[in-house]
């Protein structure tokens, strides 16, 4: 794919879930992060489950729903229903509906299959109980929002393209990153590198720093928890560290990639890297994505986080690479 030879059409759209301002954990400094939707890996501990599917999705937070039924009125496929309950009838007979939040007015029932993710119910829901994951947003609009913080912060860190796997939309990343570069903004691309090399190569000229996720050292472990072996990732990583600055980021999940064998395997991979590997960030596994799983109607696999002793041990092990290591 020869991205750089094609003109950028800023009227094109990118498929994203969110643009996060004041992000402190996605590269150096205070950053703005664009989350692209769609991923070709399926990490069992993923904390952004809404960015995995390539299709739009609607999330539902039952705790916020007041059962007003507005969603049902606007749904083109009639998937939202408000179940009338006995309790509601009793209460309305006395004419005393104090608050819908108490569920007196009924319970929301929803058939997820068949949802077009058109977003009408999301727009209509007064309680913000419904949320749309995935919007096609014009590149010009994304560009404008990314540029905003450069105006606010004299020491703005830059923009990070993340996801999901943002390089599944490599052309959009390229177009946006080109604009950022022209505006003098630092660009990070957060990727798992499970892609044909030409996709990565395409964004090389417009990327200052790659944030590369490393999930496991042994290919079998990788396959078990991520769904794919890691051979291509390792190969791409090796190539990349010879030509572009990289930080490697490892979400540390207890019992998965904090064992002696795993750490050994990762160190072995890291041993063959090029000189552009600048930093290794170890990230503790967390369950902050739980509410998103729930809103998508998905079950979240549960893991443990490594204890302090193991964290210290891992820090020491990774320091042997001679690269700057930090626990973030």
């Amino acid at each position: 794919m020869k991205l750089s030879s094609e003109p950028c059409g800023m009227a094109e759209t990118a498929f994203i879930t969110n643009i996060q301002h004041f992000s402190l954990h996605d590269g150096p400094g205070i950053r703005t992060t664009v989350f692209f939707k769609g991923c070709n890996l399926h990490c069992a501990w993923c904390h952004n489950p809404e960015t995995v599917s390539l299709k739009g999705q609607v999330g539902f937070d039952a705790g916020r729903c007041i059962g007003c039924g507005t969603c049902g009125e606007v749904c083109p496929t009639q998937l939202h229903k408000i179940k009338k309950t006995l309790q509601e009838i009793e209460v309305t007979n006395y004419g005393k509906i104090e608050s819908f939040r108490d569920k007196e007015a009924g319970r929301h029932e929803w058939i997820r299959e068949g949802c077009l993710a058109c977003g009408r119910c999301v727009e209509a829901c007064p309680a913000n109980a419904l949320e749309l994951y995935g919007r096609h947003v014009a590149l010009s609009e994304i560009e404008k929002e990314c540029m905003r913080d450069k105006e606010n912060f004299p020491g703005f860190g830059g923009v990070t393209f993340s996801g999901g796997e943002c390089l599944l939309q490599a052309r959009q990343v390229f177009c946006l990153a080109s604009k950022m570069k022209t505006g003098g903004i630092h660009v990070c691309v957060d990727t798992a590198l499970h892609l044909p090399w030409d996709k990565i190569e395409g964004v090389l000229p417009v990327t200052d720093l790659f944030l590369v996720d490393m999930k496991a050292g042994l290919s079998d472990t990788h396959k078990k928890y991520v769904g794919m072996p890691n051979d291509r990732i390792c190969e791409n990583l090796k190539r990349l560290t010879h030509v572009a600055d990289c930080w490697i980021r490892i979400p540390v999940v207890h019992g998965v990639n904090d064992t002696k064998e795993e750490v050994g395997a990762m160190l072995k991979i890291l041993g063959g890297m090029g000189g552009h590997l600048k930093k290794i960030q170890l990230l503790t596994y967390h369950t902050l994505g739980e509410s998103k799983y729930r809103s998508l109607g998905l079950d979240m696999s549960r893991f443990e986080k490594p204890d302090m002793k193991r964290q210290e041990w891992m820090l020491e092990e990774f320091r042997r690479t001679g690269v700057c290591v930090e626990w973030n």
């Binding site: 004041f22 939040r101 309680a127 913080d149 105006e151 004299p154 020491g155």
Partner: protein, 750 residues
């Protein structure tokens, strides 16, 4: 003779002493009462003179063995009494006020409005946020001030008694003279007290300090300070003298790095002072300020404030070795008093910002940031000389004051959302008919422009009416608690032969604090969108929702809360509307003359009154339930989503904060952190705040986990300082409700 600070021993000694407060001074009070009764009612000015005489002659003075500063006069104050003095607080300093309390006129006027939460009105005028010109006293000494006053008095006596004005002048000058005499006498008594203590003292280090006090106190602040140590003694003693005797709070300690640096530089050059000793002195000064407070009480909060940074009268940036010493102390100690008021501008050096950021990132929440680039210009626009504006100070929460100004700020809080409800429901929330104001009914307007125009008109009428009453209360101020000691520190008062409470200072400003502007803007905007533009509700329907607090209409409430853009969010139309409201309120909140020859200035304070005011505040059109919190300072509502630090900065850009010399405060909750990377983030935020044209900024740096733990286990978290609003307090001393509020805020941004 180098001072070595024995911190542990000082902490024990001061705690043991202050634990005995309040001391019983009823015999002295009875003596004053009897004298007053027999006199048949002298003026308050004469009463103040008597107070100075009694305090300086009869109150015991306390010298600490492990502290080289002297200031503690046992006047019967409560330990936590430094903040405000109206209603009068225990101690001889408030004796004059007490004999005139309560002020029926004030109580009668405010009662119906306070009851309905239209206003929060504890004080008649500002009894908290003053600055006695300690810099002038430090350079001049009380003796020289006394001589000048004596000369003026002679002049006045010569001129005779024909005019009533003369008798007022004479009484003032006599009282001011007595104030200077009291200051001089007290210095001598501190000197004698240390001499007495020396008799039985065997500890060599202690002896050395006591000798130092013995030799210094009789000279300073009677005469000009000559060394760094003397300068510190002078500025500290002068403020404490005011706190003890004036029946008022003096929140502002002074612009220490600017005024102390020449002494530091000279002493170091002459080899009379080392950097270490200077650090010890500053450390001790910070800790004695903190020691005067006990933080176990529910009401505890800070008031004493130290100003650093900024610039001098010519606009030269101040960042010197003394700035560093002060910042070092704040990095070292987790105190909640004094607060640090950090003046900062676009041209301040990186090293300064980095040290301040370090304090912020450590979670030392006793810190306020003031943007010089905005505040100097704001005061200049208010008609003050540029050189004077450059020397502004601030204290209490962040109340700005020039060094030659007697301001009256943050004493009346107006509840903007409730005032708006009062326009929609004038029968239930009457202010207008009582004050004989013809209300322009906004709800009768056909267009939003008409609606808005009427709202702003009514707000301005509300402010005018309040100003009318408070101008009378300001006159009563001089009748019940003149402050001739405070006045003696102000050159203009001596020149004019006039007390500060009558307008003796060079500048005399008053400001009402507008509270809940975020809720106010959101409510107006919701009415604009839903009633006038989208026409989803009629005005009558909207009013019905508000009157019934959305009963049975939760879907509508949530629609208003969630589906209408809110102030603070990244929305251009909203931003421009918010800018307009800020500007219009500033215009109508300033410019009226006050009773002291000065003018009203616009300000947006909150302290914690945004929380106190909420109780009877009706439901608002932004979907806020009746009784829920209104917005803080100039912040968006706490319920507004998608407000991160960057979006908050963005929202500042559409507002001209140079309209607000009385300060407009932004609050930013940040998670606590202890590593260098995060210090960087704080540096960037400081820069962004200045760059985006913010006015004043408070951080609250905490992590949610810590707060939740602290709530469960208060005993292990006594030192966790959080900012409630404008003041910092130990988290565990807060009510459960306030604790929950702080936790909620942290969760949103953390």
């Amino acid at each position: 003779m180098a001072f070595v600070f024995d911190e542990q021993k000082f902490r024990v000694e001061s705690e043991e002493f202050y634990r005995t407060y309040p001391a019983d001074v009823s015999a002295l009070e009875a003596e004053l009462d009897e004298r007053y009764r027999q006199s048949g009612g002298v003026s308050a000015m004469v009463q103040k003179k008597w107070t100075y005489e009694v305090v300086s002659r009869k109150c015991e003075v306390k010298v600490f063995r492990y502290c080289p500063f002297y200031s503690e006069i046992i006047t019967g104050r409560e330990r936590n009494s430094v903040a405000g003095a109206f209603p009068p607080i225990p101690g001889l300093g408030c004796w004059t006020s007490k004999t005139h309390y309560p002020v029926k006129e004030f109580d009668d006027w405010r009662a119906p409005y306070v009851e309905k939460d239209l206003i929060f009105a504890e004080m008649m005028v500002d009894y908290s946020h003053h600055y006695a010109d300690v810099e002038a006293v430090m350079h001049r000494g009380f003796q020289s001030i006394r001589d000048e006053i004596a000369e003026k008095l002679e002049e006045t006596v010569q001129a005779g008694h024909e005019k009533e004005k003369n008798s007022g002048e004479r009484e003032f000058l006599e009282a001011a003279l007595a104030a200077c005499d009291a200051a001089i006498l007290l210095g001598e008594r501190f000197s004698k007290e240390s001499e007495k203590m020396l008799e039985g003292e065997t500890d060599a280090a202690v002896r050395e300090q006591l000798e130092r006090i013995r030799d210094t106190a009789k000279r300073v602040p009677r005469y000009p300070a000559g060394t760094f140590y003397e300068a510190l003694c002078s500025v500290w003693f002068t403020r404490e003298l005011c706190t003890s005797m004036e029946g008022s709070g003096f929140a502002v300690m002074g612009h220490y790095d600017r005024i102390l640096y020449p002494f530091y530089e000279k002493d170091v050059k002459e080899g009379a002072l080392t950097k270490e000793e200077a650090q010890n002195l500053i450390d001790c000064l910070i800790l004695i300020t903190d020691a005067r407070w006990s933080h176990t009480a529910e009401t505890s909060g800070t008031n004493a404030s130290l100003v650093i940074g900024g610039c001098d009268a010519d606009g030269n940036v101040i960042f010197n070795e003394v700035t560093r010493l002060i910042l070092n102390s704040f990095i070292k100690y987790e105190t909640s008093s004094p607060k640090l008021e950090v003046r900062i501008s676009a041209v301040h050096p990186e090293a300064y910002k980095r040290m301040v950021a370090q304090i912020a990132a450590l979670g030392r929440n006793a810190l306020s940031i003031l943007n010089d680039d905005v505040l100097i210009e704001a005061h200049h626009r208010a008609g003050k000389e540029l050189a004077d504006c450059r020397l502004y100070l601030a204290g209490g929460c962040q109340e700005p004051v020039l060094s030659n100004e007697c301001n009256s700020r943050a004493f009346l809080y107006l509840n903007l959302p409730q005032i708006l409800s009062g326009m929609l429901f004038p029968e239930e929330l009457d202010f207008w008919s009582r004050e004989q104001i013809v209300l322009k009914r906004p709800d009768k307007a056909d267009t939003f422009e008409g609606f808005y125009e009427n709202v702003i008109y009514n707000v301005s009428q509300f402010l005018f009416a309040c100003a009318g009453h408070y101008n009378r209360f300001e006159q009563i101020w001089a009748e019940i608690n003149p402050m001739p000691l405070f006045s003696a520190t102000m050159q203009a008062c001596i020149d004019k032969k006039m007390d500060v409470t009558r307008g003796g200072a060079r500048y005399n400003s008053t400001s009402f604090s507008l509270t809940g502007i975020g809720t106010f803007i959101d409510s107006l905007y919701a009415i604009r969108k839903v009633v006038y533009e989208e026409r989803k509700l009629t005005m009558a329907q909207m009013k019905e929702l508000l009157k019934t607090d959305f009963a049975g209409q939760e879907a509508w409430r949530l629609y208003l809360q969630n589906k209408v853009p809110k102030y603070g969010q990244d929305d251009e139309e909203m931003a421009s509307f918010a800018g307009r409201v800020f500007h219009d309120l500033a215009i109508h909140g300033s410019g009226m003359p006050n009773a002291r020859g000065g003018y009203f200035e616009a300000s947006l304070f909150a302290f914690f009154f945004y929380d106190v005011l909420k109780e009877h505040t009706w439901a608002t059109a932004d979907g806020r339930h009746a009784g829920q919190r209104i917005s803080r300072g100039c912040n968006p509502m706490e319920s507004t989503k998608e407000i991160d630090a960057s979006t908050l900065m963005q929202s500042l850009r559409s507002i001209d904060f140079k309209d607000y010399p009385g300060c407009a405060v932004s609050y930013l909750e940040m998670p606590i952190s202890k590593n260098a990377v995060e210090t960087d983030v704080f540096v960037k935020i400081l820069e962004a705040f200045v760059h985006c044209g913010g006015n004043a900024l408070d951080f609250n740096v905490v992590d949610k986990e810590t707060l939740l733990q602290a709530k469960k286990d208060p005993d292990s978290h006594r030192n966790l300082i959080v900012r409630v609003c404008g003041y910092s307090a130990p988290f565990v001393s807060l009510s459960e409700e306030l604790q929950d509020e702080v936790i909620e805020r942290t969760m949103r941004n953390g």
